[in-house]
Amino acid sequence: MKSVERFFRKYFLSMVGIIVLFLLLNVVLFFSMLIWAWQTSTSETPDLSVNEICDSIMMDEEGHFTTAEGLSGLLEENHAWAMILDDAGTVIFQSGLPGELPRRYTTTDVAKFSRWYLGDYPVYVREHPQGLLVVGGEKGSQAKYYFSVNESYVRKLLAGLAAVFLTNIIVVVLLIWKNTRHIEKAVTPILRGIETVSCGKPVSLPERGELSEINRQLNKAGAFIARKDTARAEWISGVSHDVRTPLSVMLGFAGQLEDDRTLPASAREQAACIRKQGERLRSLISDLNLTSRLEYSMQPLWMEKVYLVELARQVVCEFLDGGLEERYNIEFCADQESESVSILGDEALLKRALGNLIQNSIVHNPQGCRIAVSILCREAGITVEVTDDGAGVSAEKLKELTADHRRLESTDEKLNLRHGLGVLLVRQIVEAHKGTMTMESAPQKGLRTVLIFPV
């Protein structure tokens, strides 16, 4: 589930990132717009030329105004005009002054137009050696504002703006977070459900909320898979059940023919062969049945206190008493501490596991071998070790045997379970007891299987 959490964390961070990016973009755009507007409009403002105009109007010694060359042309080009007022408010110089404007101004007039407009003409004033230079632009060409604000008001305004900005950011981030949490809450059970289904376990998600439809379908899928699995396990169980009686009859008669001393030796050998193969078939069927039942959790575990040493003794004795052939030799050893150690387990299944391991060594070493069974108390738990000095297996086969994939999935379409069904069963039983199983082998170096059960 780590990946899901990571996904939502990433999602949340990316949303916040998007907002930050969005803000930055706006700031950049705003400033570039300001720069663009300023750059494209400055040439038209007469402000630049007011100083020039001021400098280009001079008075000679005789009291006549002279203007620099081209002033009137420049003014005309810009639809502008200029005049100079003396201290009394009388126009003593003008160039292009519109006729509708008066030629005399009171102090009040001057105060008004220097701030605002003169008869709708935007005007600019400068001090001139001879009086007050007034330059007027075209009507509607300039916007004039006059600000006078309290300083603390400005400060508060700026602080307020910052606060508004910050609040906005926080609210947006919180909303994104809440939204993400909401989606996460709705989606996580679904993802968990998918994970559960992929493990082949049944799911049951609550079928309400906005995504109830998906939950319902997931539940359906889980139930469907479970039904199929159960059907398969039941089918295997049914087949193995039906095979039992015929096999009993076969084994029974073959065993009797084998023991019938009136028969020729060759016939008895053949009967022995039938009996042995019949026994193989018997263990194959019960392994297949049990492994499918364990796989689909249909096998109830009868957990009780189990002393592994005694259990192993009984299993080994069954082999020794059951007519083990001369070429096989089973040794048993247990250390002192393990004697009194018990685990919680299913006795019948554990016996089956150990029996399978010993049987495995016998079946795969027809030339005979020595098998050692030892029970030892270790740090990690109680270990059951089955070692033989027989043919061993190749690295490739060992990998196949120890591969930890889902058991029945590993079979191909033809249900090819020739390889190590017995070993698979041992692994399942060990796992059902929360234990671990390791195998070591090399060709001609024997096979060593270690089962460790936590105490």
Partner: protein, 231 residues
Amino acid sequence: MLDKEILVVDDEKDLRTMIRSIFESAGYTQITTAVSGEEALALIAKKIPGIIILDVMMPGMDGFELLQEIRAVSKVPVLMLTAKGEDEDRFAGFELGADDYLVKPFLPKEFLLRVQAILKRAYPEKNRIVTLDAAAVDLDRAEVIKEGQRIPLTAKEYSIFEKLSENAGRIVTIGVLCQTLCGDIWQGYETTLMTHIRHLREKIEENPSKPVSLLTVKGLGYKLAVKEQEK
């Protein structure tokens, strides 16, 4: 033992034939068969057999129902044959009073061993004398007869010996013997067991340090070698 009447109840003809032939080749003489629960009940009503071999899965009255009917009238030993392994009825028959059960498919040897064990338990022999290499043991009187002398066995020695002789020729594990000695909580009694075994050997072996009858199977348990003449 061989003259005990045996009733085999199974709907499968071949299985009945097979079981009959297992018994016959083992020397049993009184074997009757029934194909259904109803037929079996009719036979039992006439005469109660020495042991009944009962298949669980039968059309009509199944093995469990039949067992209940039988238990209503008799305590005759019953061995049940079941085709279901390792699962649900592990083993429902015990509650109903079956003496033992065997999962199909079984081997003739295994089958005979179970039947013999049940018969031994159900019909203990009189004058049970176990003949060993250097001595004989009178189980009824708990005495060892060695070189004409009668040596009594202690209660513990007797229980160990009885267990070993019941399983003569087979290994009896240390755990099983300790359990016989001190009940279900037996861990830690291994040395006590060894002491009793030593005493037992002193009584039954000619040379206790080189036992030939009560054999040690290293790490596993003990085995009693019995002379075959015992009847």
